[in-house]
Subunit: 436 residues, 2 copies
């Protein structure tokens, strides 16, 4: 088999076979196939796409390139969730304990903030004492004890994806639906999930800007999963403004606690409940999403979801009492408000611009080696559709430096649009695509 | 400027600027841009193409990557010819002295046989004593003295093309018209040509299999040349059977001598005269191709073209007398005939298959390091449209080994198709595209 022939086959629009895809992935990881052949194949994939079966072959070959977590000895179905990334998206912090409280095992391996999107690990690290990256043994132990555990992605998992992603990043081949599909799915399956629920965000602040692009990715995830005999649900959700009201590492932990008490903002609750309910269905615990939603609401109402979260905090080294003591109190040194320059309604909030405004504060980072701040961030006092009066506060900002706060205020100001007409609002759940 | 952005720009179908193309070529040659970025850009070019202006920028940047021959001190216009490669194509050996006899300066740098196509250098080397690769000084001296000189391509010329071609070869990006255009044109211009005439062959045995593909390349060559303010003529010629009757290194020298005496086969003469006439027009020596054809016929008739050829042989170290003594006599050790297995007309001769049949004989080679034989080859006694009787010789084969001859006879047999109807024949000149 010659890699040149595989490139030509893809260039002509044909699907590669299982053996050909395995040859390619193994050869790349072992160094036998040089990066310049992989990158021209990647560009051919960008233009020609891949069949769902072929994407499944790629997913499987990538899984086989490294360590695979076998968590099947745990009681209960292993279901994980993946989001394409949003601003103010703290869904994982609420969904994991809630799903666990419903009987699902959630082996959650997350990433850090980069660019305009936040990172679950950075949020968890803002809890006093919390260790967001733990050993495999501890991870298994906590997972067995509370039904969910949080950690970083292991370097040993799917080395093919790490190599290939680094190459895609510098060869103009990131935006390819089958490559994105195989990258996401290979990691989640290698990390031990049996079934997956996806939050495919759609809108100006999301990776998928249009409804069409979001649907294409959702269908690819579900159909590739089907070709691998996996249960997959992809929920397409609107990302026309940040999720919830709080953006910032500790601020988002606080808002998650509020949600776990059943007091969270409506948009965040709607999406979290829906995604968790699908995990419950994919895990075979309830047959329909309606029954699963009822179960989720019960587990919030009876406090068991909150209790799971707090038990996890303790098990991962966090100080539960200090966390609750600091809740709604611990803030960065400086605060200032952005006030409305006009009367009317909030027409839109550019979540990409808001996400970028978090970077100078220290909510997120530009480069992976940059540090983040736990207590900085902002609270959106007015969200889309809400009426505002001239001079009324729109956003409260907390920063560690006074000048930074002012810079960020100007950045946020440009993200808000106030108009004379109240914009329409509807469900954030745009579409659901399933292989169950 | 970042290479990743240039890849994305091309991927989205935009044309790169002059500065961007220069950055890319310089960066590649210097090693600052890694091959994996170049190869994904090459694949994006395969899918998106390049504008003629952009192809001109690439051509110019590639010329600038290495040594450029300045031959402008020579009296007379510098015009060269390039063929996309055929079987039995000895046009260069006739055209160069003929154009020189008409007043054109022809700085001809050629290649060697590879795969099914022959090489001008290998043919010249079959002349006793002839040195087909000579020093730059000698090349200039002979060119000044006889109006044409023959040598191999210098390693110092267009290193960007050598690097890029090697990469294209293993990354599935050979078959891209703008890349082919820039590769061909950059070498010819760097070697000192001011104007160019192209023989774009079209047919089963040619690089361009269809009329459409041949026209696309012809238009690209001419329009890219126009964007560089060069005079270019592309002649699309039919390659439905080998050119002339003789295939083999010394055999083709013999057939070239016959043509220079005005006694060559009609198909070879037609194409050679037309291409040479366009060189005469591009060189400004005659205003129309008809007048240029008259001049070419005169220079054949008065023996001056033949005399130029023989003077060149002497100047390049060859033995003129021995050449003429061996003409039509020197042959490899064994000969055998392929005879007709049916009565009728030669319907077609697969020139690709014939070219491949030359490899075991030693007419050509599979790998660049293989040696060739001067005196082997074959003569097509019957060509397309000619009547044959059962058992009549179709092809005479000369080989250095008896078994090889038989193998080759079988290969050639499968290339001939004999049928009951005489096929239509017409001009081999299918179309001419010009920027003058």
């Amino acid at each position: 088999m010659r890699m040149t022939d595989l490139i030509l086959k893809k260039r002509e629009g044909d699907a590669l076979s299982k053996g050909e895809i395995e040859f390619l992935v193994k050869g790349y990881v072992s160094g036998e196939i040089p990066p310049y052949q992989i990158s021209s194949w990647l560009m051919a994939v960008y233009f020609r796409g891949m069949s769902f079966e072929e994407t499944g072959f790629l997913t499987r070959a990538m899984i086989g390139s490294g360590k695979v977590f076998d968590l099947s000895s745990l009681a209960g179905p292993l279901v994980d969730k993946h989001s394409t990334g949003g601003v103010g998206d703290k869904v994982s912090l609420i969904l994991a304990p809630l799903a666990a409280a419903c009987g699902v095992q959630v082996p959650m391996m997350s990433g850090r903030a980069l660019g305009h999107t936040g990172g679950t690990l950075d949020k968890l690290d803002s809890i006093p004492g919390y260790k967001s990256v733990i050993s495999e043994d501890l991870f298994r132990q906590i997972l067995a004890e509370t039904g969910f555990a949080m950690t970083g992605q292991s370097q040993d998992v799917v080395p093919a994806d790490r190599l290939m992603y680094a190459l895609r990043d510098v060869t103009g081949t990131v935006e390819s639906v089958p490559l994105i599909t195989a990258s996401i799915m290979s990691k989640k399956f290698a990390e031990g999930a049996q079934s997956l629920v996806f939050d495919v965000k759609c809108g100006a602040g999301a990776f998928m800007k249009t409804r069409e692009a979001a649907e294409e990715l959702a269908v690819s995830l579900v159909e590739t999963g089907r070709s691998l005999d996996r249960k997959i649900v992809a929920v397409i959700t609107a990302m026309d403004e940040p999720l919830g009201r709080k953006v910032g590492n500790f601020l988002e932990v606080e808002e998650s606690l509020a949600c776990l008490r059943g007091e969270g903002p409506a948009d965040l609750m709607e999406i979290t409940l829906r995604l968790t309910a699908w995990m419950v269905v994919a895990g075979g615990i309830r047959p329909t999403v309606e029954e699963a939603l009822d179960l989720c609401r019960d587990r919030l109402a009876d406090g068991s979801a909150l209790e799971r979260f707090l038990r996890n905090v303790t098990l991962q080294g966090g100080d539960r009492d200090l966390l609750l003591e600091r809740e709604n109190r611990a803030r960065a040194a400086f605060s200032l408000d952005l006030t409305a320059g006009a009367e009317g309604f909030v027409e839109s909030i550019d979540s990409y611009a808001l996400g970028m405004a978090g970077i100078p504060l220290g909510v997120g980072r530009n480069k992976t080696e940059d540090a983040v701040e736990p207590l900085v961030g902002f609270e959106l006092l007015k969200k889309r559709g809400e009426p505002v009066k001239m001079g009324e506060p729109l956003v409260r900002i907390w920063s560690e430096g006074e000048e930074t706060g002012k810079t960020v205020r100007d950045m946020i100001a440009s993200a808000y649009r106030i108009g004379g007409v109240k914009p329409d609002s509807g469900s954030l759940i745009l579409k659901e695509i399933k292989a169950l």
